[in-house]
Subunit: 321 residues, 2 copies
């Protein structure tokens, strides 16, 4: 039995925040609890998301170059905007810098960030610098929503569950590094174009940051549906091998692919749209009526149990890196 | 001679960032380096600012209740929006939480934040929670610009330099606390209404976060002007007494009043506008032609030298709290 952590998990805390805040106010189209908030500004719907990379929690020095850290900080946020079907527009970066980290490192972090942002035509418009005990990069990214905003709450019974790309590469790389092998941490994929194209046909969408099962759990709860995942259909990254590969692909976080739900008659269109954005879309399950839940079944239809429930950023030390 | 810090100061780093980024991109009306960035979104001009409060750097546990910390985190950001003449609209909060800090503390931080934001009709629309070694609250605040955006760069020779409220209360309280006296840290004043009203007549504006002299230095550099401050006219907070009071009022940070420059013929109007927002506006100096600089003079016109150059968030441990 896992030790009960004293601090709430990120998801518990955000759920509590949601209850406290209720209706977030006029002009707030989507409040806290989705990948990004959506805010009506004139005739534009702005998407807002914030995410932090903290040394010792989300990365270890030596696993990532400063430049790669900057790119990663941008892309984990862009992933949230992509999951709403939007396009990044502008960002601010707040850095906490421990003693001994100098200007050259900060410049490389910013250079990696700006280079990744420019691919989307997004500008770095502001920053903050504070001393801290560990290096931390906190990004707030603003995006512009497309014609349709796709939340976690639109999945309907009968929809197909599908994911872009392949899963497990990051989880397997982290496992290998912990075992002492010098494996490169995969870069965060750029799914902004895919997200924007899928938004026209998806009923719900989320980025796979906490692990597929846990992230589909968010969709199930927000949509009030049950989700069945057919384990054998989950696309496992080729670098993720061994008897734990499928478990890692199902539960390890930080792959930053997109998971979406699509009405069956739109599946072919969704696949074409993803392919047009340079990525495969694989159907991995179905949405069913029922209490919010995620069930994983094997080819014989037997339920599988997973040892770990995905990747929760405050759940405990076991899945930290 | 102060030891040269290995890490760049916040202002050096932002200046370097400015040079690197140049023109920040289409739709970016004001880029990095001012109190907030300004971004054209449809027919609205959005203001964006980010600021962090880090335990051990910006506050000490025990100096502020969690609720007061939440309010402070909101208001230091609202101060940046106010300094551009804008009004806060929506915020996201990223928390880093060390072990041992539980849900009750986080809830109180958020409650303090939300209560302060609601006074402006601003909504908390998103958050992020990560483990960290020290408690840190990083806020990004979005505001809506008024008809005129006031930057740091508009001061003209002949303008009067004026400040809202009184200075030195926070600096003196920090000094007293360091000496072991249990003095309350002053709350950050709410100058949003004053900023919005002053924006119609001010040529430049900044919030006094780093200390009056240092912040006027930012105005001098951005505007390409020299600024003379008449020390005896600086309004010193009544709680700030003793022979160091004036020096603290001139250089200590975190008062979060507004400093602005106003053409002489608009000074009476500026005073009325500030008074309409519930705060006094005091003329403390003049803008002159010349190389960017801030000079402080006494009543006899003699130049005063200050021992410390204000409050810079990475400059070293001496002025930390």
């Amino acid at each position: 039995v896992p030790r009960r952590p004293r601090a709430p998990t990120e998801h518990e805390w955000i759920r509590r925040l949601l209850r406290r805040l209720g209706d977030a106010g006029p002009g707030v189209v989507v409040g806290p609890g989705d990948d990004a908030a959506a805010l009506r500004v004139g005739s534009t719907t702005l998407l807002v998301t914030t995410d932090a990379l903290v040394e010792g929690v989300h990365f270890r020095t030596g696993w990532l170059s400063p430049r790669a850290l900057g790119e990663r900080a941008y892309r984990v946020n862009a992933s949230d905007v992509a999951a709403m079907g939007g396009r990044p527009r502008a960002a601010v970066v707040a850095l906490e810098v421990p003693p001994g980290v100098g200007a050259r490192v900060l410049d490389q972090i910013v250079a990696g960030f700006v280079a990744a942002a420019r691919l989307h035509g997004a500008a770095l418009v502001g920053g903050n610098l504070a001393r801290g005990r560990a290096l931390a990069v906190t990004v707030t990214l603003l995006g512009v929503a497309g014609a349709r905003i796709v939340t976690r709450g639109g999945a309907r019974p009968g929809d197909v569950v599908a994911v872009t790309g392949r899963l497990g590469a990051t989880g397997c790389a982290v496992r290998a590094r912990r075992a002492g092998r010098r494996v490169a941490l995969p870069r965060v994929p750029d799914r902004v174009e895919a997200g924007a194209r899928l938004a026209a046909v998806a009923t719900a969408m989320i980025d796979v940051s906490d692990g597929l099962v846990q992230d589909l759990g968010h969709v199930a709860r927000a949509s009030g549906v049950a989700i069945r995942v057919d384990a054998w259909r989950v696309p496992v990254a080729p670098t993720c091998r061994g008897r734990h590969a499928l478990g890692i692909a199902l539960t390890a976080g930080e792959d930053y692919e997109l998971a979406c739900t699509v009405p069956p008659r739109r599946l072919a269109a969704a696949r074409r749209r993803a392919r047009g954005a340079g990525v495969a879309l694989t159907a991995v399950g179905v949405v069913q009526a029922g209490r919010p839940s995620v069930t994983i079944v094997d080819e014989a239809g037997r339920r599988l149990r997973l040892r770990a429930g995905g990747f929760d950023h405050l759940a405990g030390p076991r899945r930290r890196r």
